[in-house]
Every structure is written in structure tokens, then in C-alpha cells.
């Protein structure tokens, strides 16, 4: 166990984590270093295109097992179960208003692409293998939690408040069409799944064509992106107004709880070690790209500063630095 952990934690001295730390410290110290918004978004698009495509190619090589179906269903189930759990914990430990509570819950039911990408590097460095289709599972886990969040927002509205809210909603409720679009046609879902299917269709031949783009510079681009993430996370933390201690604690224990659910589920459905580790990481991670935009639309009365700070400035750094190696080590012990 000590060995497994110590191998896992060599991650701490990887360029990835170090560049993240550089950004984080720079912003904490109030350096003006910044990555232009368009560049950050471009790097995120690259990472999604590349990880989706590489997953697809590896599925084209390995063939599609029935495991994909089982794992996807498990992933979607986690995407509903985790928000319910998160919502309950938030109700018990914080005094967030009901809309913000539901919105936060949705973030934790969803996933973070960059956390997943960083985890694949750690898992590979530990000598573990994982199934290419885990990328598709990730894409499928991205948005169901949006629905879970909205249902929680409606169910949890207290009686009197509910009437007022009901009146509003008749007038200005977000139309279901808009919501469905956020869930099924969310930009990152479309890009991840699209690139995944293009990888399946073009297979190794496609990899020969665009491998030098999606493969060779991948880790370097991830480092630059993590530098940006570090800057953004620390700035959020510095400027966060409404962050109470119970909320910050939630940002640490919630990923651990969700990870437990994930590692057990992954082991039970019989995934191999690397894939269990990745399902655990997906469970533990919280969205900071796809879900925030959707929540702004669907629950505009929720406090955006809260859910962005929690997922981006608390849970993401925790997962990147401590969570990923920990989850991978546990997965190896349980499923290895």
C-alpha cells in the first residue's frame, strides 16, 4: 500500500502539477500573469478533441465490448445519485438558498474533463491500462446531473416559497427546449462524443494522419492549460466572498464520498484497474465548464460565485494534487 501510494504520488513532481502550482501561487501572490481568454478556450477545445479522438481510435483497435453499455449506465446512475447525496449534505451542513444548493449538487454529479485528462496521465505513468471507451463514459456523465439539479431545485422548494417560485416560473421558466439542448448538445459533450466517433470511424489510419497533432504536444498543452487553471482557481479563491467554512469543507469531503461510490461501482461491474481509477476520478470531479453555463440559464437565481468557487478553486486543485493519486492507489488495491 505504501508503495502504491508513493508511486501514485510521484505525480506531485510532474510538470502538470508543477505548472498548476505555478499558476496558483502566482495568482495568490497577485501577479498579473494571465492567459488570454480565447487562448484558454482554444486549449480546452484542443484537449477535448484530442482525448475524444484518441479514445475512439483505441476503441477501434480493441473493439467495442458490452462493458461500454454497463459502464455508461453505471456512470449515468452515479450522475443522478451523487447530486442527491450532495444536496442532502449541503442542506444539513450549510445555509445555502435552495437554488444555489441544487446548482452546486449538479456540479458534483457532473465531471471535469481536465481532471480526467490529468488522471489518464497518472494512470499511464503507474503502468495501468484503461479502456478507450472511458472517454465516452465521461461524455455521457457530463450533463445528466443538470437534470438532477433541476429536479432537486423544484422538489426542494419549501411550500410558501414554492408558490412564489411557481408564479415566476409560469412567466419566465427556462423552456424545456433550451434545457434539453444544454443536456444533449452541450458544447463539450458534442465535441467529446463527436471526436470519439470520428476516432472510431477513422481508426489507426486517422491516427496516422492527425497523431502528430493530438498526441505529441498533448502533455505540453495540458501543462499550459493547467497553468491557466491555477491562475483562475487562485483568483476565484482570493475574490470569493460567500465562501464559508462548511462550504469549503464540502469541497473536500464531497469528492472523497463520491470517489468511494465510484470505486465501489467500478469494482462491482468488473472494470479493469485503470478504468476503475478513471471512473472514481469522474465521480469525484466536479464540472466547471459545462454545468456552470447551464445553471446560469436554468437557475439564474442561484449564486454563481458559490458553485464556481467550490468546483474550480477547491475541488479541482484537491483532486489534481491529492485526489487523483489517492483514487488510483485505492482502485489498484481494490480492483488490482
Amino acid at each position: 500500500m505504501a508503495d502504491t501510494l508513493s508511486i501514485a504520488f510521484t505525480n506531485l513532481a510532474s510538470p502538470m502539477v508543477l505548472f498548476f502550482a505555478l499558476g496558483f501561487l502566482a495568482a495568490l501572490a497577485r501577479s498579473e500573469l494571465s492567459v488570454p481568454e480565447a487562448v484558454g478556450k482554444g486549449l480546452a477545445l484542443y484537449l477535448m478533441l484530442a482525448i475524444g479522438f484518441k479514445g475512439g481510435v483505441s476503441v477501434a483497435e480493441a473493439g467495442l465490448s458490452t462493458q461500454l453499455l454497463v459502464t455508461s449506465l453505471a456512470g449515468i446512475a452515479l450522475g443522478f445519485a451523487i447530486p442527491v447525496l450532495a444536496h442532502t449534505l449541503l442542506r444539513l451542513t450549510t445555509d445555502l438558498d435552495h437554488a444555489t444548493r441544487a446548482a452546486v449538487a449538479a456540479h458534483y454529479g457532473s465531471i471535469s474533463v481536465v481532471t480526467f485528462v490529468a488522471a489518464t496521465e497518472v494512470v499511464k505513468a503507474m503502468g495501468l491500462v484503461f479502456d478507450g471507451y472511458m472517454v465516452a463514459v465521461m461524455a455521457l456523465m457530463e450533463t445528466p446531473a443538470i437534470i438532477a439539479g433541476l429536479l432537486l431545485a423544484r422538489v426542494s422548494t419549501p411550500a410558501g416559497e414554492g408558490d412564489a417560485a411557481a408564479r415566476h416560473e409560469t412567466a419566465h421558466e427556462t423552456p424545456w427546449g433550451t434545457l434539453a439542448r444544454e443536456v444533449f448538445l452541450n458544447g463539450s459533450v458534442v465535441l467529446l462524443l463527436g471526436a470519439f466517433f470520428i476516432g472510431i470511424i477513422t481508426g489507426p489510419k486517422g491516427m496516422v494522419a492527425i497523431g502528430p497533432f493530438v498526441d505529441a504536444p498533448f502533455k505540453g498543452i495540458l501543462c499550459l492549460f493547467l497553468l491557466d487553471m491555477g491562475l483562475l482557481a487562485a483568483r476565484r479563491l482570493r475574490e470569493s466572498a460567500g465562501l464559508t467554512l462548511p462550504l469549503a469543507a464540502f469541497g473536500i469531503y464531497m469528492p472523497l464520498i463520491a470517489a468511494s461510490l465510484g470505486v465501489v461501482t467500478g469494482t462491482l461491474i468488473g472494470l479493469d484497474v485503470g478504468s476503475v481509477a478513471l471512473l472514481t476520478v469522474l465521480s469525484a470531479s466536479a464540472s466547471y465548464i459545462a454545468v456552470p453555463a447551464a445553471m446560469r440559464m436554468a437557475l439564474p437565481e442561484a449564486n454563481a460565485a458559490i458553485y464556481l468557487t467550490l468546483s474550480m478553486a477547491i475541488t479541482f486543485p484537491f483532486n489534481l494534487v491529492i485526489g487523483i493519486p489517492l483514487y488510483a492507489a485505492v482502485a489498484q488495491m481494490l480492483a488490482g
Binding site: V35, H168, D228, S240, R296, P300, E301, L308
Partner: protein, 113 residues
């Protein structure tokens, strides 16, 4: 004046970018003939500070500028004040002189649109 100008209303709206389509729909329904959304770099308000270099569009604002006649302005303000119960935002209305006033007088659409 050598060129004749007409008095109109200049409405300026500061909202979260993800809500732009909702207010655009409001303008369309109220018969506003046009609007322009302007890019922002940051700001502060009751809910704290924000700046543009964020990955997620959730925390970005736009300033929407729309010129319309007084009747449209009144109708639009009424609608906006209802929307503001749910969607946060800031609105202000200024008198402005325009050329070609016929450009700014549209027909409100029926609600059944």
C-alpha cells in the same frame, strides 16, 4: 440644426452573457428593431468582482445597447422589470437624438408567436 434629428430612447442593459438570448427574445417580441451587444472586460456589483479571463461563460457579462422610440422603451422596461425578478441585471434609459427615426419604430409581435 441643418440635419433634423428626432428624440428617441437609448436603452442600456447589463446582463450575464448566458441570458442574452432571453433578453433578445424580449426585444423581438416588443418590436425593438435592433440591438448591439458589447464585449466587457470585467466589473463589480452586489455579487462581487468578475473578470473576463474565465473559461466558463457563466461568469461573463454583456452590455446591450438598443435604440427605440418612447413607446417601445416603456413596453420593454415593463417587461424587463418582470424579468429582473429572476435574472439579475442593470438597465438605464437615456434620451438621444437620432437620424432616420423610422428605423427605430417596430411593431410588437403577438404573444402567441
Amino acid at each position: 440644426m441643418a440635419v433634423s434629428t428626432t428624440l428617441c430612447k437609448r436603452l442600456e442593459l447589463i446582463i450575464a452573457r448566458p441570458h442574452l438570448q432571453i433578453f433578445a427574445k424580449l426585444f423581438e417580441t416588443a418590436g425593438v428593431t435592433g440591438w448591439t451587444a458589447m464585449k466587457t472586460a470585467g466589473g463589480t456589483g452586489t455579487s462581487g468582482i468578475w473578470r473576463e479571463d474565465q473559461l466558463t461563460g457563466a461568469d461573463e457579462h454583456v452590455v446591450v445597447l438598443a435604440i427605440m422610440d418612447a413607446a417601445a422603451a416603456e413596453a420593454v422596461l415593463e417587461e424587463i422589470s418582470t424579468l429582473f425578478a429572476r435574472y439579475p441585471g442593470v438597465v438605464s434609459v437615456t434620451d438621444a437624438q437620432v437620424l432616420r427615426p423610422e428605423r427605430f419604430s417596430g411593431q410588437p409581435k403577438k404573444a402567441d408567436q
